[in-house]
Amino acid sequence: MSINLNHNLHQAQLKNGLRVMLKEIHTAPVTSTWIWYGIGSRNELPGKTGLSHWVEHMQFKGTRKFTSEDIDNLVSRVGGYSNAFTSPDWTTYFETMPSAHLHATLELEADRMVNSLFDPVEVETERTVIISEREGSENYPEFRLDEAVQLRSFQAHPYRHEVLGFKGDLISISRDDLFEHYRQYYQPANAILCIAGDISPESVLEDVENLFGSIPPAPLIRSIPSPEKALTPGDTVELEGPGEAHYLEIAWRCPAANDPDFFAYSIIESLLSGPSSLNMFGSGGISNRTSRLYQALVEEDYAASVFGDLSANIDPGVYKVFATIRPDGDPWAALKIVDEQVSRITSSELSVREIERAIKQARALFAYGSDNITNQGFWMGYASSFADYQWFAEYLTRLSSVTPSQVLKTAQKYLPADQRVVGIYRASKMQEQA
C-alpha cells in the first residue's frame, strides 16, 4: 500500500505573497479551508507572552463586515465546524464545510486577515476568558511541571514559555499590543491558504485571487530567535503540590523538523516511548505498550503510565517523556530506569526489524489520517510551516532510508548521559471534603 500525497495537489502564489495550496479530493461533498500565519509564541518577546494566542481569540470577535455572530453562523448554520490553534511556530484557522459554501469561508478569511476590530470592550472580556483558560490548565500538576521543565529547557528561546503566556503578561498586555501584533503578522506575505476537498482548482484559484489579491503585503519584521544548543547537564526542577500521584518529566534536545536527523530521531522516539501521530483529526493512534520505556517502567511497576512527545518544530526543541508514578513509588528510581534505557539506545545499534516496525507504524498512522479531509488540509499547512509539503509527501521514504548506524549516531548526538532536564512533581496529599 502506498499513499501518494502529491496526487491532485496544486500550488500557486499571488503577487502579494500569499501562498495557495489546493488538493482535490472528491470522496465527499466537503471542503476544509485552512489559513496559516507564520506567527506563534516563538516570535514573542519577554513581557508580551501570549500575544499570538490572544490575537487568535480576537479573530472571532468580528470585523465591520462580519460580526462575531456572523462568524459563528457562517459555519454553524450549514453544519460545518471550525476552530483555530496557536502553536509556538504558527497560528491557524480552519473551517470544514459542505463544499457549496467554500466561497463564504474564503470571504471571511480574506476579511479578517486585515479588518478585525479589536474592540476594547471585547479585549477586556477576552482577557478574563484567557486567564480562565490558563487557570483550567493550572489545575493539573502535569501542566505545572511541564511549564517548569520547558522554562529550564531553553535559556532565551521563546519555546521556553507556554503558548498561553505568563499570567503577569496576560494581565498587562494592552489592546494596542494586540492590534499591533495583528497588523504586523496577519498579512498575505506571512500566510498560506490551504484548501482540501471537493473543489475545482481553477475556479477556486480565481476566487482566491479576487478576494485576497488586493490585500497589500506589508514589510515583515519578526523576532527570529537563535536556536539553542545543548541542555545544561544535570539540570533538575522539583515541584511539590496537591495531588495523589507523582510525575516525572524528562526533556532532551531534539532537532528541528527540517533537520535530516529528525527522521532517525522519530525512530528513536517510536522505539523508546511509542510513535507520535502527525495527524490532528479523528484518526487515532497506536498504543505504546511494547515500547522500551513502557516495558521497563510500567511492566516492572516503576510507573503507572508513560508516554513521549516529539513535535515537528522550526527550531530545535525538546523530546519529552512523561511518567505517572504511584503515590508509594519513587520518581528517582523511575528516572534511573529511563537513563538505563536511553543508554541502551546510545550504546548499540537497533536491528533492521525494529526500524521496519517503526516504518510500518508510521505508514499505518498516515493511512488513518488520509480518510479525513480536514486532516488533509491540516497536513498541507502544517508541513509548510516548518519545511514544505514534500516533507510530508516524502516522510515515509525518508524514514525508510534511515539506517541502524544513523539511529545510533543521532542517539549519541542528542541523548548523551545526563544532558537532559529532569522535572519531578511530588504530590502532597490534599484533603477532599464533600
Binding site: V30, G79, S132, E138, T324, P327, A367, A434
Partner: protein, 423 residues
Amino acid sequence: MSNSMPDSHTILRETWLNGTTLLAYPNLTSPAVYFTGYMQPGAIEDADELHGLVSFTTDMLMTGTKHLNFQRLHDKIESIGASLSIGTGHLSTTFVGQCLREDLETVWNLLVEIVQQPAFAEKQFKRVRNQILTGIAIQNQDTATMASQAFNRAIYGSHPYAHPDIGYAQSFSGLRLEQLESFHANHYGPKGLVLAVCGGIAPEMARDIFARTLGAWQNKTQTSPKTLPPFTPPASSIRSHTTLEEKKQSDLIIGVPAPKTVSRDYQVCSLGNTILGRYGMMGRIGKVVREKAGLSYEVSSHLGAGIGPTAWKIVAGVNPENLEKAISLLRQEILRFYTEPVTPQELQDVKTQALGRLPLSLETNAGIASILVSIERYGYGLDYLRQLPALIESITAEEILAAAQRYWDLDKLVIASAGKALQ
C-alpha cells in the same frame, strides 16, 4: 468514500446463530479499516460491594491470553501499526480498533483470543490493580471528575448509574483474581455482541472474516444481562460542592434527567440543546457566560444518550470567585429556555446545521462505524440516516418549549461543583 448515504441497500447487516451481529459499510478509497462495537457485560453487573469488578475484568483482557503474554500480544498489535482497545460502559463492554485493510483478519483473530482466552496472570492482576488505584487517586483530585461523580450520585440516587464504572478504591482491597476469572467465564460471550466496520474492505469480505472469527465464538455459560432497575428522578433541587483546595479553577455541572434516547422528545430536545449550549460559540449560554461576562473559557450543554436514564447538563469551568455568579447567569438562561419559545431564526439555524452536519459526520471511517453502532443499539433501522432530515424538519419551536418544560425546572436542578471551598 461514496457520496451515497448508508442505508438498507448499502449497509450489510448480518446476524449469526451465536447471537452476534455485524454491520459493514465500504469506503474502498481508504487503505485502512475502522471497527467498533459492544458486547456483554456492563458495569451494572457490579455487586454493591464490588463496584469496579467489571471494569477491572475488562482491563485484564488486554494483559495477555493463554497463548500470548503481554509483550507478545501487544507486539502483534503494535508491530503492524494497529490499535485495539476495550473499555467498560454502564451496560456493555465496548471495543474499538483500527488497522490497515490487509491486517483485519489478524486483528479480529486477536480480538477473539483476547475475549475468549484471557490469561488472568497474577503479575498482571497486581499491576492493573495498582494502575486502577493510581487512576482513581488522580481522579479524586480532578475537579471535573469530582463534580461529575457528585452530579451522578445526586441525580441517579439509588440507581446503579450513580456509581463510576471504574469503581472505588475500597472495592479493590479484598478482590481476588479468581473472582475476575469466574466473572469472565459467566458473562463475556457472543450473545449481544455488535460490531460495525467501515473502511477499505468489501462488506462481503468483512462478513467472511467475521464468520471465521467472532461469528464462531461460543460460550454456553454466558448468563443473561441484569435488567435495569427503574429510575426515580430527584424530587427537589440538590446542591453539592466537593472541596479541593489549591485548585485554580472550579468545575460546575447543572442538570436534570434527560428524555429517553429512543423517543421523539430526544430529537426535539437535541435541537433545543444545540440552541441552549452548542450552536456557534456554545449557544446561548456561551454568549452570556463566556462572550458577555467573560467568566469561563469552557461552558456548554450536553444531552446524554444511552439505554436507561441519562442526564441533560450544562458544564462550565470558572474561577472560584465567579462560581455563584456563573450559576446565577445559567439559571437565568435555563428559565428563559423553558419559558420562552426559541426564535424562528434560532430554530432555522439549528435545523440547517443538523442537516448540513450529516454528510460531514460521514466523512471518516470512524464516523460511519460509530453511527452504525448507534443505529443498532437504539434500533433506529438501517434507513435512519435517510429518515432523519424529515424528522428534523418537522420539529417546531412549540415542541421544543413543551419538551424543555417537561425536563427543566429551576426547583429541581441538580447542581454539583468541585474546587476551592465555597465562600
